[in-house]
Amino acid sequence: MKDIRFDGVGKTFTTRGGAACVVLHDIDLTVQAREFVAVVGPSGSGKTTLLRMAAGLDQPSAGEVRVGGRRVTGPGPDRAVVFQHFALFPWKTVRQNIAFGLRCQGASRARQTVAVDRYLALMGLDDAADRYPSQLSGGMQQRVALARSYAIEPDVLLMDEPFGALDAQTRTVMQEELIRLSRQEPRTVLFITHAVEEAVYLADRVVVLAHDPGRLREIVDIGPTRAAEAWNTRPIHEVMELPSFTHLRTRLWRLLRDQIRPGN
């Protein structure tokens, strides 16, 4: 399993008028192997940009990103990305979508079938295997996207608000499923979200970004509490009522609000 290291990473976009726009400034962050790190921050603080640089879809303007010790220069199947709007191939069935990455790796037919069947079962998608994405609900589409990413057995999972497009109930279900999945198949995860509760519920550590330019504000440790109170084995509504949970949530919410409040 690989770790992710951001070393003095900065990103500056040049706008059409030629003006430079500093989106991220001097980010130092390490996501340990098998660790689940969530990133929260105001809109426009560069969360997506951070993730895209780890994915190799954008290049840093300063510093470097290393995954498993190797400098990231482009996208690769050791780092699977789950996008907010799923990005499923509309002309492929669920089965074909999940098998896509395996086919890219040149996996045999037999291995593809085994892996696809396993993830179909794991995500409760058996009945939808031969349907097209347009015939699925949002929640099911996101399950397919998760299955598609997990199926290539990446070392690192990069998720950009994967549940942001889902309704509240579906979202809760998906959060529980993700916990279950990460318990069965621990991976190194960088998880972007707007929702503080989601971050606290899922992550070992939560990174708070400050705005303008985007930079590290604070890192909140959740892991010890999660382990001590065995959150991973309890249903989400129960966890969310624990005093420790509400305490962490409030603390993060304050940090975030300070970023959003004008003049800060």
């Binding site: 994915a55 190799g56 996008f83 990005a87 191939f89 509309p90 290539i152």
Partner: protein, 264 residues
């Protein structure tokens, strides 16, 4: 409802089409019979129909009408197929790779304004007057819409689908074949339809100048043997077959567009 012009009903529409055709043939017949110049200048429609029936069984200029049609269709198929086979992949690749775009576009932009028939001298010089010469002229006519539509279609495929494929480990070839091609398919088929029309037009043009068989060749031979009914019969065949080709491709275009709209 949406359009500004009022659409007649289906049967009304058929009726009006037949009426238009009937009026056209009627006026033609009256003119042909009433004119003093005689059938050498304007053969009557009934005479043309009679000639056509005759040409179906009796050879003219070496073949029956169907024989000439077959020769024309063969060249059409070759030229059009070749244009699609080169133009579509090249257009898709140009939509993916900026350097290829820069490499090809200026040349292409200049060449596509050279009318297909302008290639006839070189086509004859390089490929002769049998199959090769006309095929090259058709290729020149059909190639631009194949390339342009594939290119535009590829550019319109959502970037995140390409990125998803990249992060799942897809190489450039797989991205072109499995993401850009299906994503651009409606645009490509629309381009093929336009290309087929242009191919058919340039074919007849080319056959007027080169070739020893084909509908265009029939026209030239008939003209020099002073048989205007035969010229007209060939013209009617060109129009009818061109229309049938267009209808077939229009259906394919509709079918694919409908299916793709459902998937989107």
């Amino acid at each position: 409802m949406a359009g500004l012009k009022r659409r007649p009903g289906r049967y009304e529409s058929w009726g009006l089409s037949l009426l238009g055709l009937g009026l056209f043939l009627g006026v033609w017949q009256v003119l042909a019979v009433g004119m003093t110049a005689g059938p050498q200048v304007l053969p009557a429609p009934l005479a043309v129909i009679e000639t056509t029936r005759h040409l179906l069984v009796a050879p003219f200029a070496g073949h029956t009408l169907l024989g000439h049609l077959a020769a024309s269709l063969q060249r059409f198929g070759l030229g059009f197929g070749l244009a699609a086979l080169v133009g579509v992949p090249l257009g898709l690749a140009m939509g993916r790779f900026g350097w290829l775009d820069d490499l090809v576009t200026p040349l292409f932009e200049a060449l596509r304004f050279v009318a297909p028939l302008a290639w006839v001298p070189f086509a004859v010089l390089w490929f002769g007057t049998g199959i090769g010469g006309p095929v090259m002229v058709i290729f020149a006519g059909a190639f631009p819409p194949c390339l342009v539509n594939a290119y535009r279609g590829a550019r319109q495929v959502e970037a995140r689908l390409v990125e998803a494929a990249q992060t799942l480990g897809a190489g450039p070839l797989r991205i072109i074949v499995e993401v850009l091609l299906p994503g651009a398919l409606p645009a490509i088929v629309a381009g093929l339809r336009v290309a087929a029309g242009l191919a058919w037009q340039s074919l007849i043009g080319a056959e007027l100048i080169v070739a020893g068989a084909g509908l265009g060749f029939v026209m030239v031979q008939a003209q020099s043997s002073l048989s205007p009914q035969i010229v007209m019969a060939a013209m009617a065949a060109v129009g009818l077959v061109g229309m049938l080709i267009d209808i077939a491709l229009r259906r394919a275009e509709w079918a694919i567009r409908r299916q793709w709209d459902q998937l989107a």
